[in-house]
Symmetry: C2
Subunit: 219 residues, 2 copies
DNA sequence: GTATTTGTGGATACAGCGTACGGTAGCGTC
DNA sequence: GACGCTACCGTACGCTGTATCCACAAATAC
């Protein structure tokens, strides 16, 4: 079977989906492909480039959502596609924001985002656009990371409250019982019921609202 | 010289500051402390716990900003302290949002943030607070990561335009010259002049504005 | 004072990692 | 037939986190 960058990236993604980024090694990818580890270096400069490749494959999927009718719908679609991609490929969130995304599909997503935002009210010039893109991307990166991290811990601890109490509880409940973190305690105890997607949606709206507000004093 | 968790964490932080998280190893920390690598395991369960330790030391510094007069000043102070800390300890941004922050000082920062936000207009109940904290933290995490990543690439490529063109240019300019990314191209070419701190400030205001808006239809 | 237990620091070892390097087999060209 | 070139391959190096064993010193028991 003939190797190729695409095939290598595809199996790397499959392995990373299954065992996380830490569990991913060139040796395992090579073994999965039935070749020696060094064969991969004929197609890829080093592991970091392979990661870039994997990332851009994911961006390709995000870029598929294409253009919607209005700027807001487009932004919403891209944001949700990014979130969906990160939930399918949790390792993606580990890399989000941590390296420049310069692959062709990543650039396509960036272009679509920027083009949409440039049509938003409150985005008057290039500086506004620069900042709007920054704010939106920052939120998406942070929100997705947060959600994936949360999902991982609840998966490792178990979903029900009893298991949670048993694993993180001893330390965390002791901490919260000190009374030094009353607000956090209330959030932890009472706040678990919120739907993740709804929260993402709501906060995305929050950020977009902030962007589209015309402020008189801009700083 | 007597070892301690604090001393280990301190030297680990120093090494990580100097050589990044990838360049950090238990062996190097031990050598720096003049002991065998296995000694560290008397104070720390594994490398991951050491990382948690390091993270909480940084949060201690962030927590120092304490309470300001109004909720907004408090939030601004915490956000800026987080940014400052990440710029001083770039590895901190690699970890931001990627693992639960449950150390005492991290909880203190979370408490201060949540307490401040609970006094913000537009935050009416616990659900609002939960979402506001999420939105704010997401933005901070994303913005800080973005800034550190950007700083790293400009450092590795060189700051002036010529060096940039030489290192990333061949690929990136070729990409941008395809004409498929016109908006991104304009941003890259024209947008480098913005001050980072100002941008952070501006976007932070944007997010806070979004939070404090009272929306009639909340979803 | 001697014997025995206990704890503390060190050295060694293992499995796995990314990747540098040297060798070999096939093949087109003189 | 000889040669250089290219595509493949296995081996090897230095590094990682960490488990395990071992020596020695201090403390306790008789």
């Amino acid at each position: 079977m003939q190797l190729s960058r695409d095939k290598i990236a595809a199996t790397a993604i499959r392995l990373a989906d299954a065992h996380g980024l830490d569990g991913l090694s060139l040796r395992k990818i090579a073994k999965e492909l039935g070749v020696g580890p060094m064969r991969l270096y004929d197609y890829v400069i080093n592991k970091s480039e392979l990661l870039d490749l994997m990332v851009d494959v994911v961006y390709a999927r995000i870029a598929e959502v294409g253009q919607r009718s209005g700027w807001r719908d487009t932004v919403l679609a891209i944001a949700h596609a990014t979130r969906d991609a990160a939930l399918d490929h949790e390792w993606f969130s580990d890399v989000l924001g941590g390296r420049p995304h310069l692959g062709p599909h990543a650039l396509a997503v960036g272009e679509a985002t920027a083009a949409a935002l440039s049509a938003a009210p409150g985005v008057r010039d290039l500086d506004d656009l620069q900042r709007a893109v920054g704010a939106l991307n920052a939120f998406i990166v942070g929100a997705v990371r947060r959600e994936v991290t949360e999902r991982r811990t609840t998966r490792s601890t178990g979903t029900d409250e009893a298991a949670f109490q048993a694993s993180l509880g001893p330390y965390l409940t002791r901490m919260l019982n000190t009374g030094r973190y009353p607000t956090v305690a209330r959030l932890v105890i009472d706040g678990a019921h919120l739907n993740a997607e709804e929260t993402f949606n709501h906060n995305l709206t929050t950020v977009l609202d902030g962007i589209t507000i015309r402020r008189d004093v801009t700083r």
